[in-house]
Amino acid sequence: MQNFKTSKLETVYCVVVFMRRVAIVGVGMSKFGEHWEKGFRDLIIEAGVQALQDGNLKGEEIDALYGGTMAAGRLIGQEHITALIADYMGLNPIPATRVEAACASGGLALRQGFMAVASGLHDVVVVGGVEKMTDVSTAEVTTALGGAGDQEWELFMGATFPSIYALMARRHMKEYGTSVEQMAAVSVKNHLNAAKNKFAQFQKPVTLEEVLESKEVSSPLKVLDCSPITDGAAVVILASLEKAKKYSDCPIEIIASAQASDTIALHDRKSLTELKATQIAARKAFQQAGVSAKDVDVAEVHDCFTIAEIMAIEDLGFVEKGKGGKATEDGFTALNSDVSVNTSGGLKGCGHPVGATGVKQAVEITWQLRGKAGERQVKNAELGLTHNVGGSGATAVVHLFKKC
């Protein structure tokens, strides 16, 4: 630590770290949904093979693998999953590292891959996210996902993830007048986008009435306010910008990567209507890239529950605190509106295979910035954002992307 007690000038030199520019050169994903016919390894290999083909890469060109999964141990009884993935993808003997941060596991795996390339340690890395959730009962999934919160002081008391977000929703309704109709509008928008995405779990739009009349899970949240139980995998391949140009005519550069942490239990936070970790990660990401929330054309945000998207668009700075419900109702975040939010269908419509979500977000943004998102293409999309949250907000990670 003594080295830091130097002159101001030297301190400045310390923080100007040399980082290489990093870009996405290949992406792939499995269809998201209930895949009784496919196992964990089938899903991740399907996504991995697509990504390698997309980037026109050979296995021997890969230097390392980072994999995000939340609860393979609970859901399929398998730990040590990145060794398994490297084995089945034929990537041995490269280093393969698992990253876990509940629902943000995928986003953190992406950040680990980004740092590995940015640092100069590796030139080309595979980042995967995967979760196989339908091999066990709903009650077991509920318990496993509960592990994203505080086991001893939330889950032990009977809290579930929907109930934790319900506690936030109630406060948001009280403090800002957010309505159940405004929350339902998030679900309607995201299902509409999902219907245009052949990889999405849900292929049909839903109406406001259908959301409002769906069965209550934890008041005020209903089934159609909640992301579903999903099997799925997503993979992106990263390379240094120099190498990226060799593999792809349209590499998508990651221009910022930022992460923050907060208390594990929701009740330990001063406010239940904001995620501080999101606010901090977003601020840092915008600083790194020298852009602002207004510049973002397309964003994949963490809508594990409808109230989560309302808080996300506020915490990311797209709208003022408290105005997220109204903005959604007014169409501010609809496809090709002010900022297109969750064009993939989000966690709500596309599905939420927990560890895969953060990587899937990067796949969707890549397609959008390449102009290859088909029916759900955002016009002239130049700047993209992904926002992935772990638990009730104890982890948040934000990435920014731009066409090279």
């Binding site: 506690l167 109630r170 934890s218 239940l272």
Partner: protein, 133 residues
């Protein structure tokens, strides 16, 4: 989640007797016990503190879809309660429906069975709340 008897035994001071921490440096209270004050870090001085078990409803919901071990309890009211000494806790509110609750409703702790691990497993006890008359 099935938990061993050592874990259950270890948490008895917190779950049965409401023991938490008080930081003598910044005067903030914490529940449950924390070895390090998150605000003062190394400058903090943590001592044991027993909480009275009185508080107010800060937020609330009714859980309709329970996790394993709570199947027989659902639906139940779950709340974040702000204790009179400052910290907030997550717990069930018994002998009422959510229609009886509002933000700020005064509640007091009661000692209850929280969950059972099947017919022959451990029975876990701890605190819940009820409306203060």
């Amino acid at each position: 989640m099935k938990s061993g008897s050592a874990l259950t035994w270890r948490l008895i001071p917190n779950r049965y007797r409401l023991i938490g921490s008080h930081c003598e440096t910044c005067k903030e209270n914490f529940f449950p016990t924390r070895p390090v004050c998150p605000s003062c870090r190394r400058k903090g001085k943590m001592v044991e503190k027993k909480f009275k078990g009185e508080g107010k409803i800060y937020s609330f919901t009714t859980v309709q879809v329970p996790p394993e071990g709570f199947e027989l309890e659902a639906p139940y009211v779950l709340a974040i309660v702000e204790l009179s000494e400052g910290p907030r806790v997550t717990a069930q509110v018994v002998d009422c429906s959510e229609n009886d609750l509002g933000f700020g409703t005064p509640v007091e702790m009661v000692f209850r069975k929280i969950q059972e691990e099947g017919k022959e497993g451990l029975i876990h006890y701890g605190f819940k709340f009820k409306i203060k008359k």
